[in-house]
Symmetry: D2
Subunit: 140 residues, 4 copies
């Protein structure tokens, strides 16, 4: 089932780490957000096009992350992302983060996102919308 | 009960926002981490001193955030942080984020952190330790 | 001459520092950008309003920073910002960054920014424009 | 002359862009820092090993960047990095950033870095040191 799961590898940079010499944890959250974008792009339905063509966004409403082990400067980590749930207007993306060399688990995350429409000059007015069927089909 | 709760106000900067013209969500997570530091500092037990004096760190093991409403460039938001639970080796910090002007809720977050010791040259070897009684007492 | 110079104090957070235990240098650049926004806001001409009312932006075209000394977790630093030069379509902002406690210089920066107009759906088409006289007058 | 120049490609993510829908400029500076690390690693002398084996760091003392054109969400940019100058204790790294698709120049940067030693518990005490000959030779 191509497109169902997307993997990407990230190299931990010096600047991603904190004085405790491990990844500063909010960086994982930025990579999680990016990984959702990569997942949709790999499935052929880039969020960028949903936005520019249909005026649809997919902001997060719920995030949970379990941190299972640290990563440090020079490590390679893999983020494996897939859809965990489709609702009518919302969906979950799950992410498994692991160390490429040791296969050790680093983090497990779940994002719940909602499909919304915004007015062009009202970025804070978010109206929930049905997820287009074509988006859902792209992951089958 | 001084020291129990800590409030800080953050002004949303241009660079904190994304092309959807609202705060890029991983930024909230960095502010949540910082707010835990501010909470401990306000209680008289800065995490920096625990680290330099006792070799203790408090890495995160679990994060959950509910995003309840957007914030945009120029908004002032308040983060109210407090201890939600003390275990013997772990503790929870809860954060309520709201809009200063409208009082609208923006996010609710809970971090679970563990008290650990690391070797000086082994940043990835984390050994759980009892939370020093003095730390707990600082919040009473 | 109110509005001419703007000062702000930043507390160095754990997450602003890198494994060398000093501020990760790109963070200074984000603070410099923010300080330009604060300078214009203090002068009564927020860049946000220039953008929403007049469709004008002020992207950077040239940046130079001299790094004169390090700052570390827990330090307070002051950023003093002022206009260094007005051209017809461009201007310079200079920033002096120093340690609040020791007064030691940390960095000196100069940004050159250009006043531009963009089409609503062409964010990469930047057309240089004359700086509105009211903006310049706000700094006198 | 292998190792002399290092190229890397970066995909512009949603979260790298600001409300003006182009890359938030401090992000370029983080990529420039990372690119210097990649350059040294490609030459066989990773800065991480200089740090852990010899206690040597290479903090920046001078940065200049000319911004020549914008990049936006979804663009691929290439950063080509090389040594611009070797001094006895300092060196320059130059970076050319361009659009992969159009070849248009996006930015030109120059970093001056100094080879320093720090005490293990004195991260702010930086003493300039001669650049090891082996480092210089790695780029010939």
């Amino acid at each position: 089932m191509p497109g169902r799961t997307n993997c990407r590898v990230i190299r931990i940079e010096f600047g991603n780490c904190d004085p405790a010499k491990i990844v500063y944890y909010p960086n994982y959250v930025a990579w999680i957000d990016q990984s959702t974008h990569h997942l949709f792009e790999a499935a052929g339905v880039p969020l960028r096009e949903l936005q520019t063509r249909l005026g649809l966004h997919a902001p997060i409403v719920d995030l949970s992350v379990k941190f299972l082990g640290p990563a440090a400067w020079g490590d390679l980590i893999e983020i494996e992302s897939s859809i965990g749930r489709w609702g009518s207007k919302s969906f979950d993306v799950v992410h498994h983060i692991s160390d490429v060399a040791t296969k050790a688990a680093i983090a497990e995350a779940r994002e719940t996102r909602v499909c919304v429409e915004t007015g062009p000059n009202e970025p804070k007015k978010l109206r929930a919308q049905a997820i287009p069927e074509a988006v859902r089909q792209a992951f089958v």
